[in-house]
């Protein structure tokens, strides 16, 4: 048997700890141990970005790090960005523009958009494209997603 390790972290603002298999990835920890299934797994090779979460305020693909490496950190998942089914401004912008089809990439995309907006940087449409290019979407062709993020940046006076 593999010896278990203890992981203590902050998850969506609350303390969370568990004894786990040291081989466990952060994405599996979030989904299977913490039961937060909004973080999705699409590739396990760090390409698709469906498992993107915030770790200490920055985006990480949670399939690329071990849960044990997240010990002591502050993790925010999609569930931490809004209460229940209430939509925050980013989610509302996506909803309004049909920037969601199957929704599988959506949590990761929203986390990335949240991070992008938190930077407070002025961005062009092309820069939005580059920033979200680590999150794959197979349904929308990205156009409505980019429109939604553009609108949010424009509202903040941050669109170039």
């Amino acid at each position: 048997m593999v010896n278990k390790v203890k992981v203590n972290l902050k998850l969506n603002g609350e303390r969370f700890s568990a004894e786990i298999d040291p081989r466990m990835l952060l994405c599996d920890f979030i989904r299977d141990v913490a039961g937060l299934t909004g973080t999705h797994i699409g590739c396990m090779t760090g390409n698709c970005g469906a498992c993107t979460v915030l770790m200490n305020g920055r985006t990480v693909k949670s399939c690329t790090i071990l849960a044990a490496q997240a010990n002591g950190s502050d993790i925010t998942t999609i569930e931490g960005l809004s209460k229940g089914l209430e939509l925050n401004p980013i989610q509302r912008a996506f909803h309004k523009r049909y920037a969601v089809q199957c929704g599988y990439c959506t949590p990761g995309m929203i986390i990335t958009a949240h991070y992008l907006l938190s930077l407070g940087k002025t961005l062009s449409r092309q820069e939005i494209r580059e920033h979200i290019s680590g999150n794959l979407c197979r349904c929308t062709g990205y156009q409505n997603i980019i429109d939604a993020i553009e609108e949010l940046l424009r509202d903040k006076g941050l669109l170039r």
């Binding site: 699409g42 969601v100 199957c102 929704g103 349904c139 062709g141």
Partner: protein
Amino acid sequence: MRYVGNRITKFSDPPLLTGRARYAGDITPPGTLYACFVRSKYAHARIRGIDTSRASRVPGVRALIIGDEFLDYPIFQPISTKPYKPYGAKEATVYPLVVGKVRFVGEPIVMVVAESRIAAAEAASLVDVDYDVLPAVVDPEEALKPGAPKVYDHWDGNLFMKFPSEWGDVDAAFGKAEYTLSDSVRIQRFTGQALEPRAYVADYNTIENHLTFYSSTQQPHPLRTILAETLKIPENQVRVVQPYVGGGFGLKIPPFQEEIAVAVASVKLGRPVKWVAERWEELMAGGHARDQRHYFEVAFNSDGKILGMKVRIIADMGALFPTPGWGMPLVTTIHLPTVYKVENYRIELLEIVTNKNPLNAYRGYGKECACFLMERIMDMVARRLGKDRIDIRMKNFIPPNDFPARISRYTVLDSGNYPTVLKRAVEVFEYEKWLKLKEEARKKGRYIGIGVAYELTPEGACIPGSFFLQYDAVTIKVAPTGKVLVYTGITSPGNGQETAIAQIVADNLGVSIDDVVVYQGDTDLCPYGLGNFSGRSMISGGSAALLASIELREKLRKVAARILESRPEDLEVSDGKFYVKEVPERQVTIRDAAFAIYKNPYDLAIDVEPGLEITKYFKMPNALHIPDESGYTRTYTSFPNAAHLCAVEVDIETGKFDILKYVVVDDCGKVINPMIVEGQLHGGVAQGIGGAIMEELVYSSAGQLLTTTFMDYPIPTAKEVPDMIIEHVETPSPYTPTGAKGVGESGIVGAPACLASAVEDALSDFGVKVMETPLRPSRVWRLIQEARKK
């Protein structure tokens, strides 16, 4: 009309946006065991033995199942090859796990079931399979040669079938034509890859002999039938639930080997069993698409009119599956020559098996190959004659007054106005301006090209003796309080047609859309329907919703008339109320009329049957399965179409190109929700671009798949997909009561042809011919080098 035609936001969004939606992989009943499959390392090998002794010692392993234990479960085939027997179609029995020999890399050999995923994966890595490796056949044309290894030992070769499509007098046409040209086009093997990998959870209740099966499927009801027939459980003891599905694109049409294996394992073990595919498994064993070569000759006159064509199609099927992949090249064949009036042709399709993953349905389903072939021919003819590429298409289009237009023994196009659509696309694109920009750029040593393509997107597939047909059902239940529940036989893999259904119901029942709730994907709740494929949700589902709404509305109208002491025909309905046309202030709410039906059956509702629940089936009227006096049939029932125009700029040093502008003018008949229609086109074009410029499943000469992650099988990111300008022309379907034609596959069909046209145009100085995809920089660069040498 309040809702149809408007941009209503998608009902299903809030759980998706907040991470609260549950997909099949998010469901874990108490006591769940986890499955993992040991897959073949070889393309073609006989299995001499399997040693599971090391694997069985892994703590937590509950079962190690080999193919022979599944011999009682040959997979029920939802689409039979029998109707194609006259063309030589063969049969193959598929079991949940390999029996005897493996036929492609990744075929499941052993199923491991354990208490955790990690234990299952660890045990799987310790299973020892003893292979007797056989020579693999990887190229379809090699597979036809005498002495080639046989994929199926009991067949006389590797030819699955030979299918003809002939029209007119092709030899006479070639005899009198002023010009002929010949060449070939080739579309590579690629596939859909929905972002959600397939996931199945089987929960068998031993005491009740009842199976609940959660599946990321596109067809819950057919899957229920398949499970019942394969597992020999009475169908009324099987419930299939399709939770949120993370994209389908045809590749989640059942049944898969793993789907059946998971269900059987749950029955055998009496515990829930769960399996979630990993990406490499989806790429290796989740179904492939395309992989067609087309050798052609075309005959035409100096005015640009095409007189005839001869086409030989070589389709590489991979091995055979119960899924409908082998229908894909047939769809190419029966829809040639697409939107063009070519009155003489001879087409021969050869479907050939090889040691590769079987074909499965993927959005486009062969229509993109037909489009690519015809559009390349149009460009070739234009170039040969020095004519404009728009003019050549206008010259050859089926004219608007020719509809309904029979184009093959199997196909009649419903309606269309191709010249209007293309003309509008030329305007929106600013074709004349781009011609000038191109010339100016060329003077500065920049290589801009304009692409033109016209796609025909046959929808509403209706295949005899299969679960791929054009009927579907909607149940509507109006509660006493006037709230509306809708249950559909169609399902949504994420595109939001539950919203479009609600729009149709709200308009036709006369209620607010806020009072409508739509349920899909649960076989215990919904009427038997055929789910999601072939752009059918509005064709069949939307039509059924309309019919059911109208019938309930008329029942309510009768009661409302009695309440208002008026005649039913004097009432109007809208905003949840019936009112007297002449005296609108005399009104009654639908809620009050509904209450009366439930509470006043002997007075106010005396002349109607109690209850406000109905199920209506709709069947497309224009399919024809009993051949007419000429022996002709009709398989597809709806024919959306679209013009694509784009501009690209090629860097001739690297072969890389950027898309500068992309325009689609689409005609999918009546548009129910423009936002959804545009979104479908965005996504369709994006997938078309992926197939045109980057996606390719590459096999080694030994049949080893070399592209098993998103690193070596890249799909387009936000950097590769351009902004698109989308416009609509509406030519209603004469056969659906809403006029809708379906839009699920539009966009993907024309995009590869449009980009090939643009790259060829950009490189016209070099005389480059683009006859093959994907147009990776390396291929474009090589085309330039080869052309320069000449």
